[in-house]
């Protein structure tokens, strides 16, 4: 399990989630993203293409981050969900809350 943050030349922060986003590591993700927000970043993409699974705590942290980023006038986009993760967002209706694109590249292009 590992989180990678990369700032694109246009200033978009792309966060990679390797392994899982769950109750045991969500605080780490939250802190990393909030730090970047603090430092002035406003556009975020979380890329789940290397993510095995996400539990409800992980989903909760995404909801909370999205809110905090929006409060600062920024935006959070999600990308790279596999079929199972996409279904998870749909059944929790979280697909209505987030801008979800197929790949991180598409999310970048759309900003």
């Amino acid at each position: 399990m590992r989180f990678t943050l990369k700032k694109d030349k246009s200033g978009v922060v792309v966060v990679g989630v390797e392994g899982q986003l769950i109750v045991g590591n969500r605080q780490e993700l939250k802190q990393k993203v909030l730090d970047a927000l603090e430092e002035g970043s406003r556009k975020f993409i979380i890329d789940f293409s290397k993510t095995g699974y996400i539990d409800s705590s992980g989903l909760g942290v995404l909801v909370s981050l999205s809110k905090k980023i929006r409060e600062q006038g920024g935006e959070l986009r999600l990308a790279g969900l596999n079929a199972d993760l996409q279904t998870l967002f749909e059944l929790t209706k979280l697909d209505t809350l987030f801008a979800i694109t197929r790949t991180a590249e598409e999310a970048l292009a759309a900003f």
Binding site: M1, D55, S56
Partner: protein, 142 residues
Amino acid sequence: MTLRLDVTSDSMKLDVPSDLGMVGDAVELVATHLPPGTLSPRRISFNLRTALAEALGNAIRYGTGEDPRRTVRVRVELGSEFVRIHVIDDGAGFDHRRLPDPTHPENVAREFGRGLFVIRNLVDDVEFNEKGNGICLTLRAG
């Protein structure tokens, strides 16, 4: 702290200290040592992992208050037609019948309250013991 999974021909057993940092490793240990054949690799790697992480997270947070001296017990029955996972804490339990629907428009933007809903959608059957401090997840073959 090393997690030890105790395996027989028809069961697996794991005691997890009440520490949220253990959830990922505990889930991994159970998921990677399930016998092949009953559940598809995809259902092991997604449905079982997610549901077990939820149940363990709840037992650690609410059941045992993240007190690493306390233990959450995971017991797995290995059938040829099913895998049944019991997650049991020694807490006060709760009433699983009185939970708000997390997909209700009022609740969708909430941070919490999706755990049991997610579990119910990922496994074939969910049961609780009477006290409400033990949950049993059944995944049928396939």
